[in-house]
């Protein structure tokens, strides 16, 4: 899927090692060691900590790439390596083909000012600034005039739906609203690359769901290249184009949500996928059968192939079959109750 797309960000053999002298384990900060697993083992044995080891992935332009892992899996470290909030011990990070790790402090500041935006779990808002000044803060650092700052800030305020709260201070806002400010601030500089570090984890479930929808809505308009960190597997499934599961600083599996569900790389991934209600992941496209006779029946409702079974079921309950179409509006086949049942039976059986 990403092969025909332009690559925005490449993370190549990135290592982050903590301890007394981490650089001793790498030649010239080269991350591509022969056998990463034994190398990591060796580092750990000499009482150093491998926060992330040999992490490689690519993010295409306009793609939502989700890094999912439990606490301590190194997901926050890796996203900080991408923006050099944390200096990687070894490896390469390429943004538009240029190695970020070779950039000087000054160049890095320029890149952060224009190409990157980041959203934080606990918002990271400045307590002494009101909403509009918080959002305009990155623009202020760039030295823009007040008028220009306000104008650009107002644009993102409209985007995240904070109109009317411009003069409020962070502590006067709810968690969801504070994160809207965080999102607006990270978008104020119109970055290409958008990092979100567990942006919705501090919010309660209902708000979280609402914010996820809004996030997807914003992405539909802006088409940023996104690295999204979460510990919530369901959240990852909802929003990811592709996702990466991490454990103990290492990659466990990379793939689309469906790939992970259908083909978990090992028991660790399966552990997550088992808990996922099949109806949320299995798509209409996966349960079609080619009963050509029904294709032109005008009474039958139709549904996109990407819709999950959960969304399909209510439609199906009103009709004997549903026509499934792909993004180009081409008919793929029909889904019937029998199709769905046999598909569910198949998947459930696989779990056992």
């Amino acid at each position: 899927m990403q092969s025909n797309k332009e690559i925005k960000l490449t993370c190549r053999n990135v290592w982050k090692v903590y301890g007394e002298d981490p650089s001793q384990f790498f030649n010239n900060n080269q991350g591509n060691v022969e056998s990463p697993v034994t190398h990591a083992q060796k580092i750990r044995e000499s009482s150093h900590i491998v926060a992330c080891g040999d992490v490689s992935f690519e993010v295409a332009v306009g793609e939502i790439f989700v890094i999912m892992g439990l606490s301590g899996s190194g997901k926050s470290t890796i996203v900080r390596c991408l923006s050099r909030l944390v200096e990687p011990t070894a490896g390469e990070v390429l943004l538009d083909g240029e190695n970020l790790l070779k950039k000087s402090e000054k160049e890095l500041i320029e890149i952060r000012r224009h190409k990157m935006g980041m959203v934080f779990q606990s918002f990271g808002l400045l307590p002494h600034l009101n909403v509009i000044d918080n959002i305009a803060f990155p623009l202020k650092l760039q030295g823009l005039t007040l008028e220009k700052r306000r104008e650009r800030a107002q644009r993102v305020i409209d985007l995240v739906g904070l109109n009317g709260r411009e003069g409020s201070y962070p502590r006067q806002l709810s968690g969801g609203q504070q994160q809207r400010v965080g999102i607006a601030r990270s978008l104020a500089v119109e970055p290409d690359l958008w990092f979100l570090d567990e942006p919705f984890s501090a919010l309660d479930p209902l708000i979280r769901r609402e914010m996820q929808n809004e996030f997807l809505g914003i992405q539909n308009q802006l088409h940023k290249s996104i690295v999204f960190i979460t510990h919530d597997f369901l959240e990852a499934l909802r929003i990811a184009d592709r996702m990466m599961i991490m454990k103990d600083g290492e990659i466990v599996q990379i793939g689309t949500p469906a790939e992970l569900i259908v083909n978990p790389a090992n028991d660790y991934v399966a552990e997550f996928t088992n808990d996922v209600p099949i109806t949320k992941v299995l798509t209409a496209g996966a349960v079609v059968s080619a009963e050509q006779g029904l294709y032109d029946d005008p009474d039958l409702p139709s549904i996109g192939s990407g819709a999950c079974i959960e969304d399909l079921l209510p439609v199906l309950s009103q009709a004997r079959a549903v026509i499934v179409k792909d993004a180009q509006n081409k008919t793929l086949g029909v889904a019937t109750a029998a199709n769905v049942i046999s598909a569910l039976a198949r998947e459930t059986h696989r779990d056992e």
Binding site: M118, G182, V189
Partner: protein
């Protein structure tokens, strides 16, 4: 003390040794009283060093002093020249901006009081010293704070130095400043600068450190340069802590400016109080003391108000007129009053004929009061003196006489005392309260012989062993060396006198304060009454606390004791209440659901759980008591406080500084002991790390 059986026997042996040393002591006195021939003449050496320093570098400091004297006198003259209504209005508007109309009313009335009783010029002289020293202290403190924040090594040097500066009584470093800088208001300025900048350093380091990592990261990701990150992200985020530092620094400066006036040469309000106390003019000293208290409270509430303020809401939405309304009011009213004052002389200078100065009336009232209550006052004093203070100081042996207790301490009685102690201690031992039995034995010996007559050898041994138990080898060695310093410099007897007075004061403060704290935590009404009293006592400059006690009980150790208690009781109350009120709710709910009565809940759940916090309160109580001890020396005590004072009076640098360091040593040892104990307790509670 521990329940460990090995330690129990060691303690028992130590106590036994103490007892036998006391008896052997009558034949070999050096075991009990450290011989004066063994004292190292450190004071002489220190004096010589100081003389050398003054001779060689005196010109530098005098020059500095002359330079600093210029802004001081300029500010003084400006404050004297500005008509009083202008300053009253400015104070009122500042209070209004800081916290609202209530404070504005209070500040205005307070400032008017200074005008009406005729202490305006003196108040302004004190204020001008504060106005100069506070900005200097804030800048210095902020600078060191940033340095300490940036470099771990700097922090490691700065922190212990601050501990030292804050535990050595301020009096002790008045003298070297006096010797180096010469007489005059500059001494007060330098002293208050030295005394006032440490809290700013601490708050700066704390504030800068406690900025959330994500806020820093968000600043970095917004593309902040290091300079932008510091000034636009870190500093504003830490603003509240920094302003708290400003508040504490200002208060320290105020209290030191007052204390420094003891040197004289400045016609300020501190000097007025001090000289009135010395002349035993009580009405006058109260009238002037109230000025100090009001001045301190106004400055404290204004700076605290600004520190606690929510940042100006909606500031960007409102017009400039509204945003700068306080400034506008201040300017307009000042100018108006200024012009008015050139037509109305009373507004320029409050006419002497209008001064309300009811000192004579107050003195007469006091005389009557003392006459009417002389019997009660005398009884209280006698009981406290003969039944508590003397036994602790010189022991029952020397206290009990037909004159004091009404009977002779015959050998038979002494035997009965010994037997009674053994029975009580034995009872405690049988009930498995072994530590308690040790405590009983020790205090029985202490009461019998008196603290000042206990063997230095055994006291040092026991203190060092105690230190070993509480904080390991480092603390033990530190304690041993510190106590040896007291011994070798020959201030051991005075140190024991200080420990005796402080000890009684701490016990009383802790017991009474703890009781009030418990009441306040259980009964909301008590808490509401006690809080403003505590606030007042804490902002009150230490001098002023002395006045009422000296008025009633005259000069002497008893007045000093009461003054120390009045000051040191505040942390005991505060920490007890705080500790009892902030317990994990689930534990309390669990206990209640098990059927605890309120009394059981308090004694068996709340108090044990709150103990670590209460012990921190004890720690603070001790620190407060030692701080007050030096001030109390003004009204007649014989401990180290008095030595410091003598050093200052005679210009004897050595005596003053050795006694000052001695007090700091006592304070630090007490601090480490209580903290060590509290820490080990807390560790036991949390189970791990």
């Amino acid at each position: 003390m521990s329940s460990n059986p090995g330690k129990f026997w060691i303690w028992l042996i130590l106590i036994g040794l103490l007892l036998s040393t006391q008896f052997i002591g009558s034949y070999t006195p050096w075991l009990v009283n450290y011989p004066t021939e063994w004292v190292i003449p450190l004071t002489g050496i220190l004096n010589a060093m100081m003389n050398w320093l003054v001779e060689t570098t005196g010109w530098l400091f005098r020059g500095l002093s002359d330079i600093l004297a210029i802004p001081v006198s300029v500010v003084q003259q400006v404050l004297q020249w500005v008509p009083w209504p202008v300053i009253v209005v400015l104070g009122g508007v500042a209070s209004w901006a800081a916290s609202g109309w209530k404070l504005a009313l209070f500040s205005t009335l307070a400032l008017l009081y200074m005008v009406f009783v005729g202490y305006w010029p003196e108040s302004m002289n004190s204020l001008s010293l504060v106005l100069i020293s506070v900005p200097l202290a804030i800048v210095t403190g902020f600078g060191f704070g940033v340095w300490g924040f940036r470099s771990k090594r700097a922090e490691n040097i700065i922190m212990p130095a601050l501990d030292m500066l804050q535990t050595i009584p301020a009096f002790a470093y008045l003298l070297p400043i006096l010797l180096l800088f010469g007489f005059g208001p500059v001494v007060g300025l330098i002293a208050s600068l030295l005394f006032a900048f440490p809290p700013m350093v601490r708050n700066t380091i704390l504030g800068l450190k406690s900025v959330q990592a994500e806020i820093i990261e968000s600043g970095l990701m917004s593309g902040a340069t290091p300079r932008q990150l510091f000034w636009q992200v870190r500093i504003p985020t830490a603003a509240r802590q920094l302003l708290l530092g400003v508040n504490q620094t200002t208060m320290a400066a105020v209290s030191m400016v007052i204390i420094a006036s003891i040197i004289g040469g400045t016609a300020d309000i501190g000097w007025e109080v001090l000289s009135r106390i010395r002349k035993a003019q009580f009405g006058e000293s109260i009238l002037a003391g109230v000025v100090i208290a009001l001045l301190a409270m106004v400055i404290d509430r204004i700076t605290y108000g600004f520190a606690g303020q929510e940042s100006k809401e909606q500031s960007s939405e409102t017009g400039p007129l509204h945003r700068h309304r306080y400034l506008l009011i201040a300017i307009v009213s000042s100018v108006t009053l200024f012009i008015l004052s050139s037509f109305i002389p009373a507004l320029r200078e409050w006419p002497e004929a209008w001064v309300v100065y009811p000192a004579d009336g107050m003195n007469r009232w006091l005389e009557n009061f003392i006459l009417n209550w002389s019997e009660a006052i005398g009884t209280i004093k006698t009981i406290a003196f003969f039944y508590i203070m003397l036994p602790v100081k010189v022991g029952l042996v020397d206290t009990i006489s037909p004159y004091s207790w009404g009977f002779e301490f015959t050998p038979a009685l002494k035997l009965m005392y010994g037997l009674a102690v053994l029975v009580v201690a034995g009872l405690a031992w049988f009930r498995q309260r072994k530590s308690l039995s040790l405590v009983i034995l020790f205090f029985a010996i202490l009461f019998y012989f008196g603290l000042t007559k206990l063997s230095w050898l055994m006291l040092i041994t026991m203190a060092s062993y105690m230190a070993f138990q509480l904080g390991g080898r480092t603390l033990a060695i530190g304690t041993l060396l510190s106590l040896l310093f007291l011994l070798l410099t020959g201030i051991w007897p005075q140190a024991m006198l200080s420990v005796y007075l402080c000890g009684i004061a701490v016990v009383i403060s802790f017991l009474v304060g703890g009781f009030i704290g418990v009441l306040a935590s259980e009964i909301e009404a008590v808490s509401r009454i006690i809080r403003p009293i505590n606030d007042t006592l804490q902002t009150m400059p230490l001098f002023v606390i002395l006045i009422p006690f000296v008025m009633i009980f005259k000069i002497g150790e008893f007045s000093a004791l009461l003054a120390i208690v009045a000051y040191a009781i505040v942390p005991a109350i505060r920490y007890t209440e705080h500790g009892l009120r902030n317990l994990p709710a689930d534990v309390l709910e669990a206990s209640t659901s098990m059927g605890c009565t309120r009394w059981q809940l308090l004694t068996q759940v709340k108090l044990p759980l709150a103990l670590p916090i209460i012990m921190l309160g004890l720690n603070q109580t001790i620190m407060y008591a030692i701080a007050m001890l030096v001030i109390a020396a003004l009204v007649g005590t014989n401990g180290l406080g008095q030595q410091v004072y003598i050093g200052l009076g005679d210009g004897d640098f050595g005596i003053g500084i050795v006694a000052g360091i001695g007090m700091a040593i006592i304070a630090m040892v007490a601090d480490r002991f209580t903290q060590g104990w509290s820490a080990s307790r807390q560790k036991a509670f949390s189970g791990n790390d």
